[in-house]
Every structure is written in structure tokens, then in C-alpha cells.
């Protein structure tokens, strides 16, 4: 246990250092190339240090509003690839909460674009008894220039809680930031704090391709034979190098035994290199694994 904690601390430290480096580079140069250690980060690896929430996977650095810190941690990643990345709350002398979450788009129903996702949020909230829409879905930008990113925002309120949901797409995820305050001005103050977000991006991020692992591109597959019986598909995300070799495996939700077995076999899979304009590129994709004869399917 102590050894595990030690290793965990080292890993966390490495992530924090890499994040800090990325943040510094982003501050200095805007968009930058992240070091390899950051490439292998997991979506849930973010955290708050010195009043700044950083997440290496998403290349996100967010100096929190004054007085804010981490609240109760959320649950582990879900079966459908949903993450509670951060629950940020006013520690003293203020009010409001900021929930940063991400939905893996490989395991969600496909949206045409952010506008459609925002519209769906708006319609869902409008159906709740007593909820009012304060601001129709509209495109905004979040983050410091020049690396700001398009996002969509919708505001709503009910029973004295004023909320805004801001959504953007990053690394094959729908990233959402939900602001909750007791009055519209507080909500706006929280929204303005998002202007301080720094977004860094790899110059050549993996291409997101849904269902890629289930197609003809897969040239060598080893079935996971030792995963525990499970009727529920086990979600996993892989990054395939430009040479077709699996570079990174992230089993999103599974038991430790399942995780180990799946990681071992997925690293043996080989793909045809994916090319864009004749140039081989990295691919990021999701797949759902089911037990029962080691059947492996792509996302469904």
C-alpha cells in the first residue's frame, strides 16, 4: 500500500510538473507541443494546486476565482465515459460552485456539433418545472487568446440558483463547465473567470475517429481471455501511433483484474497506419469490450 501511494505520488508529481511546464509554455508562446509524459495523462488526472486547476490531458489551466478551492471529489469515471473532473467551491466569503466534467464522445450518442449539444441542454432544462432559460444557447470563446476555443453557453435559473453550462470539445470529449451561483451577478463573475483559462494543445493531436478499432484497419487482434465475466461492456480508449502500434491504453472503468488483462492485450493490437493527405498520423479511438468468448466490439 505504501509503495502504491509512493508511486501514485510520483506519478502525480510528474503530471503536475508536466502540467506546470505546459502552462508556462502556453503562457509564453500560446499553443505549444506537450511533452510525452503529458500525452499519457488520463482525463481524470487534473487537480488544484496554488489556486490553479490544471489538467494535462486536456491541456487546461484555470486560475480559480478568488476563494475557490476543491470541494468533494466526484465519482470514478462512468461506464459511459463520463468524468467529474473537478468540483470547485467557494471556500469562504463567497458563493457558488464550478463543476468541470467531460463526456467521452466515443461512448456518447453522436452530436452533430456543439450547437446541437447546447440546444439539447437548453431543452432539457426548459422542461424542468420552474426552470427558466435566461440565455439561449450562444457561441462564445473561452480561454486566453490566441489559444481561445469556441464554446457554447446556455444560462438557466430556478429556485434561486442561477446556472450556466458552457461546453466545448477537446481531445474527443465534450468538456462542460457548469457554474452555479445565488444571483445573476455572481454567475457572471464566475463566467468571466473563464477568460483566464489557458488552453494548450499538441501541435499534432491524435485524430479522433469513432469505431476505428472495429474496422478493417485492425490487422492483428489478441482477445482478452482473462477478463472477469461482465455483461456490461468495458470502455477503453487507445491511442494508435502513426506506425499502427498502440501507444497508449486507458481502460476507463473496470476492476483491477479486468484493467490489467485488457491493457496487456490491447497493447498487442496492430493497425494499418492512418494517413491524412499521405501523411501517417496518430489516431485516438474508443472501444467497448465484452466478455463471453473474448468478444471485442467497437463502440456501440
Amino acid at each position: 500500500m505504501r509503495r502504491l501511494l509512493h508511486l501514485g505520488a510520483v506519478a502525480s508529481l510528474a503530471t503536475v510538473l508536466a502540467s506546470a511546464l505546459a502552462a508556462v509554455l502556453a503562457w509564453r508562446y500560446g499553443e505549444t507541443i506537450l511533452p510525452f509524459a503529458v500525452t499519457s495523462a488520463m482525463p481524470q488526472d487534473g487537480g488544484v494546486a496554488d489556486g490553479v486547476y490544471t489538467n494535462a490531458y486536456f491541456g487546461l489551466s484555470y486560475p480559480l476565482p478568488k476563494g475557490f478551492g476543491e470541494g468533494l471529489a466526484g465519482p470514478d469515471p462512468s461506464q459511459s465515459g463520463y468524468y467529474v473532473l473537478a468540483n470547485l467551491v467557494a471556500q469562504a466569503g463567497g458563493a457558488g460552485t464550478i463543476l468541470i466534467a467531460a463526456q467521452d464522445t466515443f461512448f456518447d450518442k453522436p452530436h452533430r456539433d456543439l450547437a446541437e449539444a447546447a440546444s439539447e441542454v437548453r431543452d432539457t432544462m426548459a422542461q424542468i418545472e420552474g426552470m427558466s432559460i435566461d440565455r439561449e444557447p450562444a457561441e462564445i470563446a473561452i480561454g486566453r487568446r490566441p489559444a481561445s476555443r469556441p464554446a457554447w453557453r446556455v444560462d438557466f435559473n430556478g429556485v434561486g440558483l442561477y446556472r450556466a453550462m458552457i461546453m466545448t470539445e477537446m481531445r474527443c470529449h465534450l468538456l462542460s463547465i457548469t457554474l452555479t451561483a445565488r444571483d445573476p451577478q455572481e454567475r457572471e463573475t464566475l463566467a468571466q473567470s473563464l477568460d483566464r483559462v489557458s488552453l494548450t494543445a499538441r501541435r499534432d493531436p491524435p485524430v479522433c475517429i469513432r469505431d476505428y478499432a472495429g474496422g478493417d484497419q485492425l490487422v492483428h487482434k489478441v482477445a482478452p481471455t482473462d477478463i472477469m465475466p461482465s455483461r456490461t461492456p468495458i470502455p477503453a480508449r487507445i491511442i494508435i501511433g502513426s506506425d499502427g502500434v498502440v501507444r497508449h491504453v486507458h481502460v476507463i472503468r473496470a476492476t483491477n483484474a479486468q484493467r490489467k488483462g485488457i491493457e496487456d492485450v490491447l497493447r498487442q493490437w496492430r493497425f494499418k497506419p492512418h494517413t491524412i493527405n499521405g501523411r501517417a498520423v496518430e489516431v485516438e479511438t474508443g472501444l467497448a469490450l465484452r466478455s463471453g468468448g473474448g468478444k471485442v466490439t467497437s463502440t456501440d
Binding site: 468533494l72 465519482p75 463526456q103 418545472e129 452555479t180
Partner: protein, 492 residues
């Protein structure tokens, strides 16, 4: 050593969770000192325990026959034991009517020494506490256990001469933090739940996914390991059907072997007094009675039928009209002030100390509470409506009902985690408890740790819980709005 380490880790984890909660939760709590007060168990008519409306005369006769068997007390000659938690279904499921949940006076206290039995009452069983079963988290070798360890044995009972077996050493297991508890779940309206197609539950869970996304909620179903369909009964949605639920409870809680669970859990031959196996099989000849069909049914089939045909609880808005018309119901022995138009007459003998107008439960505050409940996000999991599919019993067929549950399991965080895995539900996950009838329930949460609705709500928040954002929203409300939520819940 491994167990001690585990126990120590549990203690540390619990302490950490409490510390984290105590540090983090106040950040959104309103500054006001006075908080809302649980109005207490709703008095007036039970509003539960009757058959579902629309049964044919034959079906009603079947229900009544099944209800009688549900109420029967078993002795050793009937199959009780050798290890058991209670001697009847009704004993556990009686509040506020047959089929409900744990009553105010725990019948386990009396049964411990009934007919000369020499059981030591475990410390977690008290006269005014909830009916409980006990599960051990781990086996002595440290491997996962999770199973029920019956509280009592038949040793010493006059109907069990010569049997000498010992109770589990609960004190020792408690000292190792190895014991977790479950209380009975109410069974009202479960025929509608059983008749709801998987596709309807899946669609319902997906329908408000955007709201959940804004609240940090996901949730998933506990699927049956054999056929892959959705299981939905029990605290972790671990049981697939009412028949399975009945068969398991008959064996595990009362100790009666049956067609689904034909093996005795205690192998001591000196304690086997009913030499038929199973002890409660499907009869091959009718046992007579008002319902010829029921006469051919096994006990577990009748238990299942009783639960299947039980009506959902009737919320206060309907019963209150009756209660309000009665002069004796407008004021009660409790201190809850029931004003004109009150829909929540307090149960006599409840311990609520609410005396202010904010705890007066008018229909207006109930309506407001329903709205608040939906707005802050409680209803994202405690989904108000579901719809059954086609059923053999017409009264159960294609009915929209209001269980206030999505029947999915959710990570409930450190404070509620019990470390017991059942099916696909892990040691932190629990089914969204249906809230219909919660107004007349005495004990809350899976282990009955509180009688206070406000405390039950607070327990939803801790490290790792899917409910954290919702509880933060709730804590940010005015006292009046939080009171309205409690009033609304007590109206159900």
C-alpha cells in the same frame, strides 16, 4: 493482520470522509443558523397495503390469499432456521401497512428469545431501531464476503430440541469494522416496477442525461449475470424478479428452504427438524382456500404475487383530504403545527420538534418542494415517472406510475459505501431508492442509520458521490425551500 489493516483503513477512510465532508460542505451551506426540520412520519391513513386498483374478483381473491401467507409466522416445524433474522415476512415489512418497511418497534428483539431461544441480542438491534440484517464485508482470510450472516439461531427454542449452534460473533466482527447492515425495502407497487420493460428504463435514464451531465451524475443499471437484462429489486438492484426476491428472502431471512433456494445454510443435522427439502415447495395438491389458484402455489410464489399486486403508496394530497376532514387529525400528539389546509398530519408519537410556521406543511409548500426537488437535481435520479409495459394482469399493464427512482445504481460515495458487491453493483453503488411512500417511512438509507430526512439527504454527499453537486445545490437553498423539500417528501 490483513483484517486489522483493512479495518484500520476503513476507519481512516471513514474519518477522512467525515473530515472532508465537514470541511467542504459548509462552503455552500447558507449562513442562517436555523435549518429545516423533518416533519416526521406522516400520520393519517396508511395510504398503502391495498391491492392495486382494477383487479378482477379472482385476482383480488388471489391477492388476499397471498397477503395471509405473507403475514404467517413460521416456527421450526414450518422450516424456520436453523439460522434466521425474523420469523415472518410481515414482521419486517409492516410500516405503515403490510408490505411496507421496518416498523417503529423492532420485532427482532422479541424473537431473539421467543419459545426459550437463548440468542444474545447484537448491539445493533434495539427495541426502537430498525429491523436489520447483517453482512460481513470480508471473510476471515480477507477475501470478499458480502453475504448475510443471520442474527439468530433456533437453539433453545422449545420447537427445536437438541439443536445447539452458536450465533456469529458479531461483537468481534464489529470491532473489526467488518459488519454492514441492510433494512427491509418497502414492496408497494413492485408489480409495476417488475412490468416495466428494460427499454423503458433505459430510455428514462437517457432522457435526462444532459441534466445529469450538469450535475456530475452518471448511473448505470445492474444487469443480471445470466440473461443480461436489468435487475431492479433490492438496495443494489441485485434481484431480477419478485419471485427471486421472495425465494432469497425466505431462505436468507427466515431460513426456509424453497424451490429457488433448496439447500439449508446450516449443515448441523441436529438442527434439521423439517425433513423435507425444500421445506416450502410448490404443492402438487391444492391447499384449498378462497382462491383455488392460490392453493396450488408455493409460499414464495404467493409472496411474489402479493408484492406484485400491491398498490403503490398513495401520496398525501389524496389521503390528506380525508384526514383534514377529521377533527382529530388536524392536531396530534406531536408538535408539528398543522394549519388549515395541511396535507401532512403528523403521526402520533413521532418525535419531531418542529414548532415554527416554516414547518407547517401546507399544500403550497408541498408543491414548492416538488419544484425545488426537481430544480436542484434530486429528480435527475429520483425520476418521478416510469411506465409499465404489457402485463398479464390488466391492472399492471401500460400504467404510468411515480416511483421517484430511475432504478439505476449510482456511486454514493465514502459515507454510504458498504464494501459489498452484488452483481455489477460495486461496494459504493446503490440503486436510487424509490421515494414513493417515503412520507410514512421511519428509517432511511440502506442501513437505517437515521430517522431524519434531512440527515438522509446530507448523507448523500461525501467523497466520490454522484450526488455531491445536487447536495451542494440543496445546501445553497433558503431554509424555507429546504423545508419545502422535506415537506414534499413527507407528502409522498
Amino acid at each position: 493482520m490483513a483484517k486489522r489493516t483493512f479495518a484500520s483503513a476503513c476507519s481512516l477512510a471513514s474519518m477522512s470522509a467525515i473530515l472532508v465532508a465537514s470541511v467542504s460542505l459548509p462552503s455552500l451551506a447558507p449562513a442562517q443558523g436555523r435549518g429545516p426540520t423533518d416533519p416526521g412520519v406522516r400520520g393519517g391513513a396508511a395510504g398503502a397495503g391495498d391491492p392495486i386498483t382494477g383487479l378482477s374478483a379472482t385476482e383480488r381473491a388471489f391477492f388476499e390469499a397471498a397477503k395471509d401467507v405473507f403475514a404467517e409466522t413460521d416456527g421450526v416445524p414450518d422450516g424456520l432456521g436453523p439460522r434466521f433474522n425474523l420469523d415472518s415476512c410481515l414482521g419486517c415489512h409492516s410500516q405503515p401497512a403490510s408490505g411496507g418497511s421496518a416498523p417503529a418497534v423492532n420485532p427482532q428483539v422479541a424473537v431473539a428469545t421467543l419459545l426459550g431461544a437463548r440468542n444474545t441480542l447484537p448491539s445493533f438491534i434495539t427495541a426502537n431501531g430498525p429491523v436489520r440484517e447483517a453482512r460481513f464485508v470480508r471473510n476471515p482470510d480477507g477475501s470478499p464476503d458480502g453475504g448475510v450472516h443471520a442474527l439468530f439461531v433456533i437453539t433453545g427454542r422449545s420447537d427445536a430440541p437438541g439443536c445447539s449452534i452458536a450465533q456469529p460473533n458479531f461483537a468481534a466482527e464489529l470491532s473489526r469494522n467488518n459488519v454492514v447492515f441492510r433494512i427491509p425495502t418497502p414492496t408497494f407497487g413492485l408489480g409495476l416496477v417488475e412490468s416495466t420493460p428494460d427499454s423503458a428504463l433505459e430510455a428514462s435514464l437517457a432522457a435526462n442525461s444532459q441534466q445529469k451531465r450538469a450535475l456530475g451524475i452518471s448511473g448505470r443499471f445492474n444487469h443480471n449475470g445470466n440473461d443480461g437484462t436489468i435487475a431492479r429489486f433490492g438496495w443494489k438492484a441485485q434481484n431480477k424478479s419478485l419471485l427471486l426476491f421472495s425465494g432469497e428472502a425466505y431462505n436468507v431471512e427466515i431460513g426456509v428452504t424453497n424451490d429457488l433456494f433448496p439447500s439449508e445454510r446450516e449443515g448441523n443435522a441436529a438442527c434439521q427438524f423439517n425433513h423435507t427439502h425444500p421445506e416450502s415447495p410448490t404443492p402438487l395438491e391444492s391447499e384449498g382456500g378462497a382462491s383455488p389458484s392460490a392453493g396450488f402455489q408455493s409460499d414464495i410464489a404467493l409472496f411474489a404475487a402479493f408484492m406484485r399486486l400491491l398498490a403503490p403508496p398513495t401520496p398525501a394530497s389524496a389521503t390528506a383530504a380525508v384526514a383534514a376532514a377529521s377533527p382529530s387529525s388536524t392536531t396530534t400528539g406531536s408538535t408539528v403545527v398543522a394549519s388549515a389546509g395541511s396535507v401532512l398530519p403528523a403521526a402520533a408519537g413521532t418525535t419531531s420538534t418542529a414548532t415554527t410556521s416554516s414547518t407547517t406543511s401546507t399544500s403550497a409548500t408541498v408543491d414548492r418542494g416538488r419544484q425545488v426537488f426537481a430544480n436542484v437535481g434530486c429528480a435527475a435520479c429520483h425520476t418521478r415517472t416510469q411506465r409499465s409495459g404489457g402485463a398479464n394482469v390488466a391492472a399492471l399493464s401500460n400504467v404510468t406510475f411515480e416511483p421517484y427512482s430511475d432504478f439505476a445504481v449510482h456511486d454514493m460515495g465514502d459515507r454510504l459505501a458498504d464494501g459489498v458487491s452484488q452483481g455489477e453493483a460495486n461496494g459504493r453503488e446503490f440503486r436510487t431508492a424509490p421515494l414513493w411512500g417515503v412520507g410514512q417511512r421511519i428509517f432511511f438509507l440502506h442501513d437505517g442509520r437515521t430517522k431524519d430526512l434531512g440527515e438522509a439527504i446530507a448523507q448523500h454527499a461525501s467523497r466520490g458521490s454522484e450526488a455531491n453537486q445536487v447536495i451542494q445545490n440543496y445546501n445553497a437553498l433558503s431554509v424555507d425551500d429546504r423545508q419545502a423539500v422535506l415537506n414534499f417528501l413527507r407528502s409522498l
